[in-house]
Amino acid sequence: MIKIVKRDQPSRAIFFFTPVLAIFLTLVAGGLIFFILGFKPFEALKFFFIVPIADKYGFSELLLKATPLCLIAIGLSFCFKSNNWNIGAEGQLTFGAIVSGGVALLFYEQEGFYILPIVILAGAIGGMLYASIPAILKTYFNTNEILVSLMLVYVSKLILDYLVVGPWSNPEGFNFPETRQFSDSAKLPILFEGLRIHAGIFLALAAVVISWFVFYKTYLGFQMKVSGFSLKTARYAGYKGKKMIILVFLISGACAGLAGVGEITGPIGQLHREISPDYGFTAIIVAFLGRLHPVGIIFASLVVAITYLGAETAQIFMQIPKYTGQVFQGMILFFLLASDYLLFFKIKFIGSKK
């Protein structure tokens, strides 16, 4: 007999164990899907999760993909911890990239040490501006932030499209939908010769450290935690709810904007139509998988980044459709949410004897 018993308190050990369980279950289910599609499951999983990161280049690509995921997820964890559902990070990333790209284009024929900091700052400000829209509408007009932030994703991509096709398109670019190349001073330096990993990774690491400090060492972190548990308690304690909503949105917008800066001033060096393979949405999964904990988010961003690389490798070597990556991402979140059941409930196996 199996009996399900409610735990008196959510289990702390299980809290950190379930992400691992979720990844394991995703692998099992993924193998099953590969089998149904007619591939050898173990070979497919190998191409998906091991081959892409087996060499130096692959590892650099992994870090390259994990950087924006980590950065955005850190920002989102501020929102999610305090019960604010910002799901439009993709739009904030895009708008940050637009603003920083615009600034970089202003300096396109100039060199100078001051250019890069301005470009980076512009990206953060762009992301913040864009995130402030759902935040202000939520606080002053009671508007649902989920729908507003999501609608703005579509709008931002159309703005980008308009700019790279129209006014910002490269005059010598034969009508390709892209801007001029930024000058070298506006590009994030590459860390190792021959690899694509760039200095953007330090932005992500800085975000990890700062967020850890804010979450666990400041009064603001404590306020966020309380608001996350119960808005009523937060109100009773006299916290300024509106200010906090706007603040967490600005932080998360800044992080997404910085991720956008990394995408355009890193390996690409120009604005074009598709600057992000939905990093903003995938980062939502990363934030949850990392348990909204800065260190957890580092690990989660590496795991989820593999699904991007694996999808590409599996497509090249086994003709497995590249969308399998997204399927894996969805499954990870499903399994994670499902295994959270174990946080609150114990499964007891009861023998025939009492």
Binding site: L137, L158, I159, T324, Q326, V327, Q329, G330, M331, L337
Partner: protein
Amino acid sequence: MIIDINFIGLIIASIMASAVPLILASCGELITERSGVLNLGVEGMMIIGAISGFALMTVTGSLIIAVFGAMLAGVLISTIFAFLTQTLITNHVATGLALTIFGIGISAMIGKNFVGIPGKEFPVFFEGLKDTIPLLGPILFGHSIVFYFAFALPFVTSYFLKKTKIGLIVRAVGDSPESASNQGINVKLVRYACILYGGAMSGLAGAYLSMIYTPQWIENMTGGRGWIALALVVFSTWNPIKILIGAMIFGGLTIIQFHMQAIGVRIPVQFLTALPYIVTIIVLVVISRDSRKIRLSTPSSLGKSFHKDN
């Protein structure tokens, strides 16, 4: 300039046609939300419906199997959501997002083999009557069965919620699951049923897109309609008849793009494409500003998990 009155009729008919998927998905989601469940996976269920319908039509050649298959696919995928949120008591928002991400991935995976295949002609009714009445002819006649179903659905939904016993139970479960449960109603069962129904309607909305509206499979072809459908439910303040109005406004915005371009209005095409999304935001702001009204019409337990300790 003389404008042909039948041309106006045709424009209105095309606006109605583009409103169909929004009406279907919104009415489905409205029932789900009325039972207290917020399913953000509409976009995912819709796209699954779109590919399932198109794939089944191509493989089996039967339109009936395809339409019902798409609804069944919507039901199946929403079962995952129902199981997670109701049985395993997961967070509605996160689970819905996972459903959308998963659905878009799965649909693209299945759809890989169906890109570029032409669709089939879907039968329409009363084609011959189109020219008999000026203006109203093109509006009333020459549409598919799904079209007529969609425009009847808000009225049926309204009747169901207001006048039938099951409708009352659904509302009771959404407004006060505790008292409903005390009355002997199986809250989880009702919510399961409402979620699956929402899945079926989203699936049908998707099938309409890939089989009737633009009969072909294009990746990501729902293009955010699932999210607009969600916004429409808020816009309607959970009243099915108002969904009809909202869907017509958004259908109109979609159609206006084409006509503006056709008459050569010099507005960047991206701005016109962005219009429905921007208007959605503006409409949400206007509707939600009155927080008292929203609080009164929102199902009280919307998005909150219900678990009965035994």
